[in-house]
């Protein structure tokens, strides 16, 4: 159960936090060519694909992977911005 007032979804808040951390490591990397950034991107793509195949695709056949991937990225941006605001 979330304690911050955020509502859980099929993708949990903990899962989104993990994806956002990976997204942060490659999308906003100071060195985009680093091994760490490329590994983070690979893990992010694998995790989004796995969540879609195992949970989202079977439950929501009308949702395609491309749209899901986009929405996850936008959700990660929002999550990271919220984190930045809370740090200020």
């Amino acid at each position: 159960m979330s304690t911050s007032g955020d509502t859980e979804g099929d993708i949990t808040r903990a899962e989104l936090a993990e994806l956002a951390a990976l997204f942060d490591q490659f999308e906003f990397a100071f060195d985009p060519l680093s091994l760490a950034a490329r590994e983070a991107e690979s893990r992010f793509d694998d995790q989004v694909r796995s969540l879609f195949d195992q949970r989202i695709g079977p439950k929501y056949p009308e949702v395609d992977f491309t749209s899901f991937y986009c929405k996850v990225k936008s959700a990660c941006r929002a999550y990271l911005r919220k984190q930045l605001r809370s740090q200020r």
Binding site: S2, S4, G5, D6, T7, E8, G9, D10, I11, T12, R13, L16, D24, E27, F28, A29, F30, D31, P32, L33, I56, Y60, E62, V63, T66, S67, F68, C70, K71, V72, K73, S74, A75, A78, Y79, L80, R81, K82, L84
Partner: protein, 142 residues
């Protein structure tokens, strides 16, 4: 008083260093002399540092931006800056093959491709905004 510098300001501030690299490169008549290579390499390293740092600032600005179009503009501008470096080095990398120019050319190309990838990714997100997915798939952030 706080002084704010926009990303466009930053690119404008950096541009003379790229122009200066071109000026030095074109002015040197004997690129094989050690002195010439040393002078040119020094400027190449300055531009390399600017490219790395400016990319890092683009990444930080894009993280803080709330509007996807603003993020797309940042990556588009950064890609254009990489292009300026690439165009400047397109002939100089052959004139100075042992003074860091080919390495900087490769790096600028890699950085430009990363900018292009982020730019395309943001545009995909913009077009995805028109697509609705059922509520409850993703957690709602308060």
């Amino acid at each position: 008083m706080k002084t704010c510098v926009s990303f466009e300001d930053l690119l404008r501030i950096n541009r003379p260093q790229v122009d200066y690299m071109q000026k030095i490169g074109e002015a040197i008549t004997d690129p094989n002399s050690l002195d010439a290579c040393e002078i040119f390499t020094k400027q190449v390293r300055i531009v390399e540092g600017l490219l790395i740092q400016t990319y890092g600032i683009a990444a930080e600005f894009s993280k803080r931006a709330t509007d996807l179009q603003e993020i797309a503009d940042i990556w588009s501008s950064m890609a254009m800056f990489c292009n300026v470096v690439l165009q400047t080095l397109s002939l100089l990398k052959d004139k100075f093959p042992y003074c860091g120019a080919p390495q900087l050319y490769d790096m600028a190309l890699d950085y430009k491709l990363e900018c292009d990838k982020r730019f395309r990714g943001v545009l995909e997100e913009v077009s995805c905004q028109r697509v609705e997915i059922p509520k409850g798939i993703l957690p709602e952030l308060s």
